[in-house]
């Protein structure tokens, strides 16, 4: 019997579970179909930024960055948070204007983001080819982390507070009564040996965990889980690919992003350039396979941005799924039916960086039952009402 079942042991689920336990909520169970760091939390490039175009995102990320800064010493595990900044490039007059507007909004929210010209861009990244770049925005407080230790840190801290975490455990159904979930049906899994596809296979019998509350933070798998309840979610998984180069001595300060083609790249603690780019078309659906097309698209964009990287080598490529909503805003908060279901998904490829602050807020929301302006804005029913939000600074 669990008081709360959290579906998804990525950073969102674990941060939520940790904060629930911190608030004194007992008997929290977190389940995940695969191993820890198997989903997007283990596949992302580790970018953490407050440069967004909506005030909500900006303010939330300011808080999240503050949590990231203290994470290592609070949770007692290194996360290698380095605030080298994010440099967003604009190649057209229109995009430059949009950046300027975003910068003004960010400044109103207390961020030191500024517009930089080509000369200053080259000071920040001397190797950057600036022809064709009209303008850029730079927030020195943005940064990169090594993502996996966040997952372990939250998992260890949650477990220390009594949270039960079960990887390799899939949700195969629910029991409901009178518009409430009364139980979650679970089945053990194992990794499939076929196809290098990261798929899981059943590996045991189904059991039922009775529960009071359910939170779905299963990232790209959220719609599948919600469907088992008859709840139709509008978000769709889209494969996004990423790769890492050989490690070099530190040379790149910020994460550089180009909204024109979705290119982003940064240098990890180990010295690798980690990055991705938008590839068109993208197969819809859960797909974590790698493609050659991505390597060509990415390398053309990256070498175009930093020509000296032509001789630098790719060591490995992988992929994960962005969880994309129709309006670019996440889906967070309780739903009408079942009444004890809370959603936290649809984070558009920046769920990892938002999880530290969202984990706190979702835990509060689940524990107290109170809603706030945030949860109203990002509720599932906004799509039916036509009350859409908007965020245009999406990369990758």
């Amino acid at each position: 019997m669990a008081r709360v079942v959290v579906i998804g042991a990525g950073i969102m689920g674990l941060a939520t579970a940790y904060n629930l336990a911190k608030r004194g909520v007992r008997d929290v169970l977190v389940v995940d179909r695969t191993y820890l760091c198997g989903g997007a939390s283990g596949r992302n490039g580790g970018g953490v930024r407050a440069q967004f175009s909506s005030e909500t995102n900006i303010r939330l990320m300011r808080e999240s960055i503050a949590i990231c800064r203290d994470f290592a010493t609070e949770m007692k595990i290194n996360v290698w948070f380095r605030q080298g900044g994010y440099l967003f490039l604009a190649r057209s007059a229109e995009r430059a204007r949009a950046l300027e507007e975003n910068v003004a909004l960010q400044n109103r929210c207390g961020l030191p983001t500024r517009m930089v010209d080509a000369a200053e861009m080259r000071k920040i990244v001397p190797e950057l080819a600036t022809e064709g770049v009209r303008a850029a925005s730079f927030n020195p407080g943005d940064g990169v982390v090594f993502p996996w230790p966040f997952v372990w840190g939250y998992a260890r801290a949650a477990a220390d507070l009594g949270v039960n975490i079960k990887p390799f455990t899939e949700v195969v159904g629910f029991e409901t009564r009178n518009g409430r979930i009364t139980g979650v049906r679970l089945r053990p899994t194992r990794l499939s040996p076929l196809d290098a596809s990261d798929e899981v296979l059943p590996a045991g019998d189904v059991s039922t965990e009775a529960c009071d509350e359910v939170v779905i933070c299963a990232g790209a798998w959220s719609p599948r889980v919600a469907e088992l309840l008859g709840v139709a979610l509008p978000n769709k998984p889209h494969r996004h690919e990423i790769c890492a180069t050989e490690p070099l001595k530190p040379w790149l300060g910020p994460l550089v992003a180009d909204l024109t083609d979705g290119l982003y790249f940064s240098q990890s603690m180990r010295g690798e350039i980690v990055g991705g780019v938008a590839v068109d078309p993208v197969p819809e659906g859960i797909n974590q396979q790698s493609s050659r097309r991505f390597l060509t698209t990415y390398s053309r964009a990256l070498v175009g941005a930093v020509p000296v990287l032509a001789g630098v080598r790719v060591l490995r490529q992988w992929a994960g799924c962005y969880d994309l909503t129709p309006d670019g805003g996440p889906i967070v908060g309780r739903v009408a039916d079942p009444s004890n279901l809370t959603l936290a998904c649809g984070f558009m490829g920046h769920g990892f960086m938002m999880a530290p602050v969202m984990g706190r807020l979702i835990a509060e929301h689940v524990d107290t039952g109170e809603t706030s302006e945030l949860f109203a804005r990002w509720s599932l029913d906004r799509f039916a009402r036509g009350d859409l939000v908007h965020e245009n600074m999406i990369i990758g």
Binding site: T245, P247, R292, Y298, S299, G311, V312, R313
Partner: protein, 91 residues
């Protein structure tokens, strides 16, 4: 001289570290890989995956099952070479 038995040369992961990862609760090969970093360096596991699988199997009492997922490229490939390739049709 030090007493390290280097299980993953490329990432300097010692045998001791793999044992500590197991003790910390990382029991499957993908989790141990993420925690220790073995198999994520220059050779991408060519030298160490088998050795690590054996260590895990011995420690957990099971048989080794799967390797870490083989991902492209097999050897490091220059970005300039990748950029020179023609457009791929979606497969």
């Amino acid at each position: 001289m030090t007493a390290k038995a280097m299980l993953c040369r490329c990432e300097d992961v010692t045998l001791d570290e793999v044992m500590e990862a197991l003790e910390a609760g990382h029991r499957d090969i993908e989790s141990v890989k993420r925690y220790t970093g073995f198999g994520t360096g220059w050779c991408q596991g060519k030298q160490c995956v088998v050795a690590c699988a054996r260590v895990l199997a011995k420690a957990t009492g099971g048989a080794p099952e799967l390797p870490i997922t083989p991902r492209p490229p097999l050897h490091p490939v220059a970005l300039g070479v990748l950029a020179s390739l023609g457009d791929a049709e979606e497969g």
